[in-house]
Symmetry: C2
Subunit: 146 residues, 2 copies
């Protein structure tokens, strides 16, 4: 039956299961390097626009608005492949990004530019380590000094 | 100041920003292939246990309980690297998975075993395509026939 456990997990119909907030998580990886560059959110409209246009559209939880990635910064994302997960509440897209190739609002290629040391208890001594992923553009010049 | 925009995004202190549900999203990729294998969730305890033990711990939203991945199935995940994103509301871990290497409860290596065609409007004709990622174990034998 449509929407049954088996149909959602083993069927060929797209039946995204949006959360109580109307969103699914979208994992974005760089098509060339494979690195995770963003974790963003899609509502039904953003998902539909991404599928139809082949470019990355999201729902901005902070600005509470539909967001065509790159509309302001010139860093549009071309979707090379889209996947959906077992219970259809998460999306994975592999993208090629225009312009400088930056995906993060800090100007970097991706948002995950700091590593967390593992194998020790969490304490004030735990320090994040920058991976060396430097900004590719000046966010203030693009977005303003906010 | 601790917790300021600059400190969260450009500092070296881990200050995870859990959502209203107390969770952060955790993107899990396979250390060898780089493929995204899971999108899971961590509460404060799951994140702390993952950092301390170097194995994947999550919060199961369906079962509403802390979940040591692999405790039932034998597919524990060793965290080879952990990253945190710009606004510290998402985690990326690269893992090596024990046993058959399966990460998905369907028995497959990863949860994203179906692709979504892009470049066409969403319609009933849109069909997911299986990528050929076959189950590595029999879920019914491990979890029971639920």
């Amino acid at each position: 039956a449509p929407g049954s456990h088996a149909e959602v997990e083993e069927g060929t119909a797209l039946m995204p299961r949006f959360g109580a907030d109307g969103l699914v998580a979208a994992v974005v990886t760089d098509f060339e390097t494979g690195d995770v560059v963003m974790l963003a959110w899609m509502n039904e409209e953003a998902l539909a626009k991404t599928i139809e246009t082949g470019e990355g559209w999201y729902w901005s939880r902070s600005r509470k608005e539909l967001w065509h990635k790159g509309a302001t910064s010139g860093h549009a994302q071309t979707v090379k492949e889209m996947r959906v997960d077992c219970d259809q509440d998460a999306i994975w897209i592999r993208v090629s990004t225009a312009g400088t190739g930056a995906n993060c609002h800090t100007g970097r290629k991706g948002c995950f530019y700091r590593s967390v040391p593992v194998g020790q208890p969490v304490s004030p001594e735990l320090k994040l380590a920058f991976t060396g992923d430097e900004p590719l553009f000046d966010p203030k010049a693009v977005y303003g000094d906010s």
